[in-house]
Every structure is written in structure tokens, then in C-alpha cells.
Symmetry: C2
Subunit: 459 residues, 2 copies
């Protein structure tokens, strides 16, 4: 009997493996597809690869600023995919080699929990094998959802996973259904690699979620339009048909769009429909019910990541996995805590956020004061030719403790961690202001964004 | 009488202006040259501009990884300089416009303190003007030093300032005397823009200072050699001569080098030789003596930045300026505190450091435990094609509190701030490890670099 069986090797499973191996546990991994799961193979990592490429394409257009006379002979998505596959192959191999070095078995197939300690694995050839574990971690992630009868076929109607893993050529025209995080990320990438992109979003703005302020959405919309992306807000797809190798869409305002491909990006649902036959409790949407320690209704079975009803983010999955493993095997039990979760979006801008927005704080009836500073005057941003963007910090009006931060601009996804640490340590505007930041750095922006709050306004 | 007269508008003066204007003070600025001082016009900011260009040149060579087929038609330092001047011109203008909007007078000339509250300004045309201030801040910075009778002539023997402000064409061959921070930064830039570079360093390694570990120097030496830079360690220049438009150098080991230009980069000294005639106390090296509040022996005269004997860093100057102004005009007095000063070097690698190195901790007889993680397996670094580098964290062995951090690799100068915040807040390895970092980010490296310390080693 293994100490622990981990079902799924995505960001949750991966981190569980790392943690468990350091605790010298005897573990087994079940994976139905490629090691690394969606995150590595068809979500976060390929997205950021293509995003880095897209951003590089923009930079190349400014090459003369650094004294380079460049000719762009061609931009090939196919070539980019080849190298993307190599990069991901390297990362997957490093995981696979670690597991081999540690003699950790990887069972290839679909795992179903058939007893408190028993898992039946159905392999690709249909054969079955049963393994046993003292503890089980369910980390099977999520799958894309559909909407309004639009059914992905892998050819004309594709999912984000199809785009990231399989797409060989960028379509001439692409309609993205859903202007949320993934829709904006892929819309930007497709546009950079030469697609004429339309984004259809049912709400009145891009990324219409509460932690993205109107200020951010508006900035994003402005720059997406500047890139030539056609935004169709307040609209949805009423019907569609496939004719002569094209998709013809009719929108709710009766306008029509004809494109080569449609990318469906309207959300994900937990991948739990066939996970057990022992009665692990799930909610009405299929999320596995867990307590504060990530434990299911079976005390030795834990769950983490997208199968649990917490934010569907890779790093939440990793965090939950670490916490679950520690709760299984270490004396000190830790409650899961989502009070400080930085996150980021890689689209035309890099957008990052942690804590409360101004509106969220107001809804909670907290009196706030906010600080703002544009990238425009940050010397490093100017040197990097990346001076579009801004920082918005939200403080409690009385205590001046930081409540939240939004960063829009280059390296937002890194420097946001500084405000996340500030939030975690209960730092005040004055403490953030009095700190010594390296000059020139982007991180200095926080010094400037606290000037108003600490010393008063310039104008 | 002004509330405050600021002599010098470099990083110290600039920050003093920002702070003073927010406090609604009636100030005047004296500047003998361009607004923004050395940092903006001939040090930090142009260095980072050219460094961004150099790094971009490297990236362009990897363009096929993102599917771009590029032809480099030419690389022109002259063209880069033109745009560098524009970028810096924009930043200088923004400061100038702010001062105009605030009706803050800028006296152009050299200021000499001739009375406790009186400054005589000698203008370029030789005319003089006297102004009076309740408080005075000396922020006149530093000037390059010379060594071994090698005298900069602006033509064959140039200073770092000549390189950054005036140099129009990159020399075919360049000998950098001094393998410290500036020498390595400029050596890298010159090499990237096409110069054949030799670095002569008297000590046995590049950047031979205690906060740069041997591990970092060795990595830097390896990559500089790979770039074709000729390193001559343990050597100094014995004599030199200028013949037929070339500089002929004889080194201490009797080897000879003939180059088009020599860059002298052997340090700086405080620019205080003619600052006053009222007896402001200075030490034997010319540094102005100040107390913990940045006050000189005259209670209304303060000093900050390179004129004070603290680390010669732009952000130290800014910090001291902020502190000095607050100590002049606000009730709460603040002692200067250099306990947490992150800093970075932009050469072939980005190198950043805060706190103690392993060796420094050992010298202080502190029992340590350290954490290490390479960039190799960081998914974002892989996506960005920047997977060379590593993180080294130093912890107190008992308390597991962080004592220091070194980061070598892409965005080191940003993510180091996270460890600086950790140091400031007394965070332990476990607190750093248990934090939720965005995935994929470079900042996650700190999670991985604490695994060994928190949970035990993998192998």
C-alpha cells in the first residue's frame, strides 16, 4: 500500500509530488494524459510562451530605438509552436526524470476511487489495475464548458486547450467567444501572430469580474482596439453554422460575423463526473466538498485545485496541494487561507492584482484612500520602452494599511508580489513609502504611488 | 528667504524636490549642468537604456524560437544613442515642467555655501548671485576618480560619464580598466554593440566586493568569456601611451594590449572640494560628516547621497534626501537606516542582492542554512527563453529568519525586492515557502528555494 496516491499531475499533483518526495513518502501518481496536466501542456505555460512571443513581436517593431535595423522576413505560428512544444517537452521531461530517479510509479490511465483506499485505473487499452493507498489526493482539474449550444469540434469550434496544444496554423480570422481572462489572453496572441480577431462578450466590458476594476477594463479595451481587435461587447452568439469551411455567426444584435475559426472560452467545470463510486460529496456544480483542511467526507481522501470550489488558478491548486499533503502527514494542521492571492493576466497589457479593488472595499463599507502612479515617468519603464501602465493602491483610510493593489504594465505579474507581501505583513502606506527600492526599478513605482497618501498631493 | 535650497538635482536632489513640493515648501534648486544629475544623464538611466538594448540584441538572436524570421541589417550604437538621448530628454523635461508648474526657480551655476543661510551661485558667464535659505541640502554627488597616473582626456581615455553621455560610435576595441560594477556593465554593453572588449581587474575576480559572492563572480566570468570578453584578472596597467590614434597599454604581467579607447572605471569621490567656505566638516576623503539625521555640523545644513559616506547608490541618495527633508520640516525625526538596501547590477546577467551573503554571515559567526534554486526549471524563465540564473537565500540556522538573498538572472532587480520586504518584516523560510505566488512567475523561485530548508532535500 502506498503512503499516498495522487490522481492527476497538473499544478496540484506536481506540487503534491514535490512536497511528498521531500517528506520521503512512498507515492504513486495516476495520469490519464501528459505529465504536467493542463497547466503545463495546454494552459498557463503555452499561453505564456506565446504571450512572450507576442510581446517580442511588439518589441521587434521598436528595434530602431536600440539602434537595430531589422527586417521581419516572416512570422510563423507553426515555427513558434514547434519551439513551444520543445520548451514544454523539456519541463515535462524534467518532471518525468525526477519521478524515475525517485522510482515513483506513474500509472497511465483514468483513476476511479472504488474504496476508501482503493483506486481502479482504466488504461488506454481498456485493461484495468487496482492500487491501494493510505491517503488519496484528488487533483484531476477541470474541463472547458460550453454555452448556448456551441459545441467544440476541434476544427472550426475550438477550445483554449485545442489552441494551446494542437493548433498548427493561426487562422486568418478568429472569433473569440468570451472576453474573460483566457479569451483576452488568446485574442491578443492570435492578433499578434497575424489573425484578424473579434471578441464577443455578453457583459459590457472585457474581463467583467469584480477584482478587475472598470479602470483596468477600459485601458485593456483601448489597447486591444489599437491592436485592431474588434470588440463586440454586450452581445452573445445567437446562432451559428459551418459553411464552405467558414463559421458564420449571428450575434444577439443581428449582426453577422464570418470567420475561419471560433475559440470558445466561456469557463471551466470541475473534472469530477466519474471520479468515484464511494459517495465522495460534491456540490450541485460538481465541486468536491472539502473542509478547511482540504479533506473530503472520507478522512484519508483530500482534494485540491479546480475540483474544489476555490478560485480556479494553478497556484491555488499548488498551494492547496502543499497544504493537503502537510495536513495528511505532518503534526501541525493548516487551514487553507485565501486572504492573499496575487494573480495576473497576460494580454495586451500585463495585469496583476491582489486584495481588494476600490469598489470591493466600498461595498464592504470600508473607508478608503487610494494611491496612483503611471508607468510614464518610471525611468526603467522608459528605458525598456514599456512606459504604458499604472499602479493603483488601496488603503484603509484610518490605519493606512494596504487593502489591495492593481498593477497594469510590464512585469506586473512579478512586482504585484511585493504588494502581496505588504498585505500579508499588514504594512502601511508609510512603511511602503519609506522602504529603499533599487533605482532604477519598476518596483520603485510603489514608492511614488504612496507619495499622495503619505505626504500629500503634488497638485 | 527660501524654506529650502537644494544644491544638485540628481537622485538626491530630485527626491528632495518631490518631497518638499508635497510639503508645500518654498524651495529653490541649484544645478550646474543638466537637470537630473549624473544618474539621469550619464549613469543609471543611460546605462539601463543601453543594457536594455544589449539584452534585446541577445533576444533577437533567439527570434526563431518565437517563430520570427529576422534579418539583422545593422546594429548602430549611434542610432541607439539618439533614442537614448530622446528618452532621457523626455524624463528631464518632465522634471523641468514640474518645476515650472510649481514656479520653483532653478539657478544655473555652481553653488558655494558662504554663510549658514547663504549660497553664492557662480553662473556660466562668470556672474554671481547670492540666495538665502532657511535650510540647505547638499546633494552634489560625486566625480570619477583616476588611478595610476591614467588621465581621462575624453578622447582616448574616457570615463563612464563620457561613455554614457557623449560617445557617438562604439570603438572597435575597448579596454575597460576596473572590473567592478560600472566596468562590467559597460564592458557588456560595448561588447553587445560590437566592440572587442578587454577588462583589466587588479583583484582575482570580477566585482570583487564582499556582497558579491564568489559563486556570482564565477558565473559572471563564465558568461562574459562566452560573449567574447577578454578578462585579465590579477593585473593592472603599468604604463600606457597614445600612438597613431591607438592606446598601447602595458600590464603588470608585461603583456601588451593595443585598443582604440580605454574606459577608466575605478571608482568615484565626493564632489565637495569647493562646496563651502564656512567650515562644514568633512572626513579625510572629502565625505561630508553627517549625524544620524543627515545633519552636518550646521544644524540647518543637511547632506545626502554620494557626498555622504554611505553606499554610493542612487537609491541611497533618494532615501537620504527624503529622510533629510522630513527631519528638517516634520515633527517626527527619523534616523537613517541602511539595514535593508536591495541593489542590482545590469551586466551579462542581472545580479541583485540584499542583506548578507553566506560568507558575510559566517564572518559574523552566525550559524546559517541556505536555500538554492536554479532558473532552469522555472516555467516562466523557460517561456521567456531566459533560464540561466539562480537564487541563493541565506537563513539563520535556528530561527530560520532570512538574512540575505542573491538573485542572478532575468528580472533579478525586481524580484529581489520581495526578499528585501521579507528581510524588513523578519520573515522565516516557512513564511516565504507557505506564501501563494502567482503561477507562472519568476517570484515562485523563492517558494522552490525554501523547499530544502522547510521540508528537506530532494536528493
Amino acid at each position: 500500500m502506498y503512503d499516498l496516491i495522487i490522481i492527476g499531475s497538473g499544478p496540484g499533483g506536481y506540487e503534491a509530488i514535490m512536497t511528498a518526495l521531500r517528506l520521503k513518502l512512498n507515492i504513486a501518481v495516476i495520469e490519464k494524459d501528459k505529465l504536467g496536466g493542463n497547466c503545463l501542456n495546454r494552459a498557463c505555460i503555452p499561453t505564456k510562451y506565446y504571450r512572450a512571443g507576442s510581446h517580442f513581436i511588439e518589441k521587434v517593431k521598436k528595434a530602431e530605438k536600440y539602434g537595430l535595423n531589422l527586417e521581419i522576413r516572416s512570422i510563423s505560428f507553426k515555427e513558434a509552436k514547434l519551439h513551444k512544444d520543445q520548451a514544454i517537452g523539456f519541463l515535462r521531461k524534467s518532471l518525468s526524470q525526477l519521478l524515475k530517479a525517485k522510482k515513483t510509479p506513474v500509472y497511465r490511465g483514468i483513476g476511479k476511487i472504488i474504496g476508501k483506499n482503493r483506486i481502479e485505473i482504466t488504461k488506454e487499452d481498456g485493461s484495468k489495475e487496482i492500487i491501494e493507498g493510505k491517503y488519496i489526493l484528488i487533483a484531476t482539474g477541470s474541463v472547458p464548458t460550453s454555452v448556448g449550444g456551441i459545441n467544440p469540434d476541434g476544427e472550426y469550434i475550438i477550445t483554449t486547450e485545442d489552441f494551446m496544444e494542437k493548433l498548427e496554423e493561426i487562422p486568418e480570422t478568429l472569433c473569440v467567444i468570451g472576453g474573460g481572462v483566457a479569451g483576452c489572453e488568446i485574442g491578443y496572441i492570435a492578433s499578434s501572430y497575424g489573425s484578424k480577431v473579434t471578441i464577443v462578450e455578453i457583459k459590457d466590458r472585457l474581463i467583467p469580474i469584480s477584482s478587475i476594476s472598470l479602470e483596468v477594463s477600459r485601458n485593456l479595451q483601448r489597447i486591444m482596439k489599437k491592436k485592431g481587435v474588434d470588440l463586440r461587447l454586450n452581445r452573445y452568439v445567437k446562432k451559428y453554422s459551418i459553411q464552405d469551411g467558414k463559421v458564420r455567426l449571428v450575434l444577439s444584435d443581428e449582426t453577422e460575423i464570418t470567420v475561419d475559426k471560433v475559440l470558445l472560452s466561456v469557463g471551466r467545470r470541475p473534472n469530477t463526473s466519474n471520479i468515484d463510486e464511494i459517495g465522495i460529496e460534491k456540490d450541485e456544480r460538481g465541486f468536491i466538498k472539502v473542509n478547511d483542511y482540504l479533506q473530503t467526507n472520507f478522512e484519508n481522501i483530500y482534494a485540491c485545485g479546480d475540483v474544489v470550489n476555490s478560485p480556479m488558478l494553478a497556484h491555488i491548486a499548488s498551494y492547496e496541494a502543499r497544504t493537503a499533503i502537510k495536513n495528511m502527514f505532518m503534526d501541525k494542521k493548516e487551514k487553507r487561507d485565501y486572504s492573499v492571492v496575487p494573480w495576473a493576466i497576460f494580454t495586451a497589457f500585463e495585469i496583476a492584482h491582489v486584495g481588494l479593488t476600490e469598489d470591493e472595499a466600498k461595498e464592504k463599507k470600508i473607508q478608503i484612500i487610494s494611491g496612483y502612479y503611471p508607468y510614464t515617468y518610471n525611468e526603467k519603464a522608459v528605458d525598456e520602452l514599456e512606459s504604458e501602465g499604472f499602479v493603483r493602491l488601496v488603503f484603509d483610510k484610518d490605519s493606512k494599511k494596504i487593502l489591495g493593489a492593481t498593477v497594469v504594465g510590464i512585469e506586473a505579474s512579478e512586482i504585484i508580489h511585493l504588494m502581496a507581501y505588504a498585505l500579508k505583513n499588514g504594512m502601511t502606506a508609510e512603511e511602503i513609502h519609506n522602504f529603499i527600492y533599487f533605482h532604477p526599478s519598476l518596483s520603485e513605482i510603489f514608492l511614488f504611488a504612496t507619495y499622495d497618501v503619505v505626504l500629500g498631493r503634488l497638485f
